[in-house]
């Protein structure tokens, strides 16, 4: 079994125009920086990107946006990106905003082979649209569908050569579910270790979900809002 690829360029091989890609991360925390950069250096366009956020103007998914490589964005919150708001209001970019928990569960369901399920979030709001509505236990729910993608790209702290992954702190976030929902899942890790060296008790994402893995380089890990106390 050989899942190890050399670098991000090799990892994103096979991604074509109009592909659907999921990206792990919350804000700029835990985003697959190397693959995002590699994608931004290609001429691939028409992408449908699924990610909780859309990066900021000059980092993360914001770079794909600025280079007009994105056709559609599926996210829950895009507030920190002015170019996003501009492309959305001008109609250049198609956008689907989904409640965060529903987005996470749709991805989890997609990865777990569940085609659809009911949740209460969004009932009576514009999220409802023409979705099927059903009452359970006296409460109204919307039918939501599982979500998968051609490629899922995640970032973990540590991974082994068979794709077992361990995330760090709140950089776990959407990476955990997104890893399960790609037809091809790519993992970039800060530290790549030999198969058999990680404690099986500590694995967050079992390697079965991961098809390609590589050790990333030069992580910037930008911080959106550095807030501190004095002592």
């Amino acid at each position: 079994m050989n899942k190890v690829v050399k670098n991000a360029n090799e990892a994103i091989e096979g991604i074509r125009d109009n592909a659907t890609i999921m990206f792990g991360g919350f804000g700029l925390c835990g985003i697959p920086e190397n693959c995002l950069k590699a994608l931004a250096e290609t001429k691939i366009k028409g992408l449908t990107c699924i990610s909780n956020n859309a990066g900021i103007d000059d980092f993360g998914l914001g770079v794909l946006l600025r280079k007009h490589q994105m056709k559609k964005m599926i996210a829950s919150y895009v507030g920190e990106n002015k170019e996003f708001e501009r492309q959305l209001l001008s109609g250049e970019l198609e956008v689907e905003l989904i409640p965060q928990g529903t987005l996470a569960e749709r991805i989890r369901a997609g990865g777990a082979g569940i085609p659809a399920f009911f949740v209460p979030a969004g009932y009576g709001t514009e999220v409802q649209g023409d979705k099927e509505v059903r009452e359970f236990n006296g409460k109204m729910h919307l039918l939501e569908k599982g979500l998968t993608a051609d490629f899922a790209i995640v970032k973990a702290k540590t991974g082994d050569t068979h794709g077992n992954l361990i995330y760090n702190k709140t950089a776990y976030n959407f990476n955990g579910v997104i890893a399960t929902a790609g037809r091809i899942t790519i993992a970039e890790v800060e530290e790549l270790v030999p198969f058999g060296t990680l404690d099986p008790n500590h694995i967050h994402t079992p390697g079965i979900f991961v098809q390609r893995i590589f050790q990333g380089t030069n992580y910037e890990k930008r911080i959106e809002f550095a807030t501190t106390r004095d002592k």
């Binding site: 909780n52 829950s76 919150y77 920190e80 928990g101 995330y167 702190k169 579910v177």
Partner: protein
């Protein structure tokens, strides 16, 4: 005198009980963490995947892999737990969170809330707000009673796109504490020095006033 945002946060803190798991929204609700009564144990949840939010880090402690839902750097308390986003919203949707406090643009007297979108102006997205209001057992809205232009935020019917319907139980503002009851907003407490008349003037929805209205203790 109307309360400032810290005053509102102090009053919210009085809703906390020992052993509560609490999700505090961005803005005024977050300030509540500074006023948790001494000796009371309250665990704060951050929907990006943390139970046990600690204080902001010192400069040396900053960790880009450790942020809250507002994307601010934070710390985790000893005994904290990290998890992924679907597990996090499982806690929320499953009703495991004891109290959710969030801000709003508008609250209707039926308990509807609008907090995420101003058509044509603000398209940031709902984040986790719709999930929280649809499932939390106890939802308190923390807000100023009126907006910058003096327009009431406590109204008969929301005019902005909704975040959730019939979900808000209580509203804590700079002027008052009101509960959503059949028929309108029931005035529960007044901010120190604020008259019932002032609250009535600032409330566009129906305000139900029964008996003497006590002042908030903060």
């Amino acid at each position: 005198m109307a309360l400032d945002k810290h005053g509102i946060a102090k009053r919210i803190a009085r809703e906390l009980k020992d052993g509560f798991y609490v999700n505090l929204g961005i803005g005024i609700p977050t300030l509540t963490a500074n006023y948790i009564p001494e000796g009371m144990e309250v665990i704060l949840q951050s929907e990006n995947g943390l139970l046990g939010i600690g204080p902001f880090p010192t400069k040396d402690e900053i960790d880009p892999d450790l942020i809250n839902a507002g994307k601010q750097t934070i710390t985790a308390i000893p005994g904290a737990a990290f998890f992924d986003s679907s597990n996090s919203f499982g806690m929320i949707r499953g009703g495991h969170i004891d109290l959710t406090v969030l801000g709003a643009f508008e609250v209707s007297q039926e308990g509807d809330i609008a907090s995420w979108k101003i058509p044509g102006k603000l398209v940031k997205g709902m984040g986790g707000a719709m999930d929280l209001v649809a499932s939390a057992r106890n939802i308190i809205v923390a807000t100023t009673h009126t907006d910058k232009d003096g327009k009431s935020k406590l109204i008969k019917k929301c005019t902005l796109p909704l975040t959730g319907v019939k979900c808000v139980k209580r509203v804590i503002t700079d002027l008052a504490v009101v509960d959503i009851v059949p028929g309108g907003f029931k005035l529960v407490e007044r901010a120190p020095g604020v008259s019932v008349e002032e609250i009535k003037d600032a409330t566009e929805g129906i305000l139900i006033i029964e008996g003497d209205i006590p002042e908030m203790k903060i």
